[in-house]
């Protein structure tokens, strides 16, 4: 996979866990998002670093199966659209 994904370093977010969901305040944009698993974990894995989907799967401890990679790609699309993850 060619694309690399990154997120702001950990200080760039403030997270509050709410019963299985997470409210995440993104300081740079001033916006708040409600996230369901695995979005917070993906952001944590990408914080201050750059990973491909393969690298992200490894960081999350999941197998790089085609299904998993497709699911991660869908999650990354969502997070890029929300402005929480950047695609290089």
């Amino acid at each position: 996979m060619g694309a690399l994904f990154s997120a702001d370093p950990a200080e760039g977010y403030r997270t509050v866990t709410l019963d299985g969901l997470a409210a995440l305040y993104h300081r740079r944009s001033g916006m708040t998002h409600v996230l369901a698993e695995p979005a917070p974990d993906i952001i944590a894995a990408l914080a201050g670093t750059q990973l491909s989907t393969h690298g992200l799967a490894a960081a999350l401890g999941v197998a790089s199966s085609p299904d998993n990679l497709a699911a991660l790609a869908a999650r990354l699309d969502e997070l890029c659209e929300a402005g929480l993850v950047s695609r290089a």
Binding site: A39, A44, V62, A70, R75
Partner: protein, 131 residues
């Protein structure tokens, strides 16, 4: 996120069940956008009379202060109040509708001097809010 703290450095994999990645078509991010569309309508329709009832019959000097009618260089008050939208545009460098450049400057300076308790102050203050 199963950790209750702000610790974002590494997901704690050993304590947790397998991560649910979700289906391709599922949604895991909901962005909260402030409901400004509705409030913006009411703010921009609010009115600022120039001058307010307390200044009725007085003129507006170029610096926005109230002066007796007939004072040289002053303007009579506007026959109608201005809408928030109109004032917002004028604050950005336009002129108030139906006024000359100097007259508009006088009115804008009057509006800028409004204090709490004066008619139109709340409307003017709302225009100052970001976005």
């Amino acid at each position: 996120m199963t950790e209750p703290t702000n610790d974002q450095s590494q997901p704690n994999l050993s304590r947790r069940r397998a991560l649910q990645l979700g289906a391709v078509g599922a949604a895991t991010v909901v962005s909260i956008r402030p409901a400004l569309a509705q409030t913006a309508g009411s703010i921009l329709n609010c009115e600022i009379p120039v001058p307010g009832p307390a200044g009725a019959g007085q003129n507006i000097a170029l610096d926005g202060s109230l002066v007796p009618p007939g004072t040289a260089g002053s303007f009579t008050g506007s026959y109608r109040p201005f809408k928030g939208e109109e004032v917002k545009r004028a604050l950005k460098g336009g002129t108030l509708p139906g006024t000359s450049y100097e007259q508009s400057q006088a009115y804008i300076n009057y509006i800028r001097r409004l204090q709490q308790g004066q008619s139109g102050f709340t409307c003017y203050a709302s225009l100052q809010m970001p976005r």
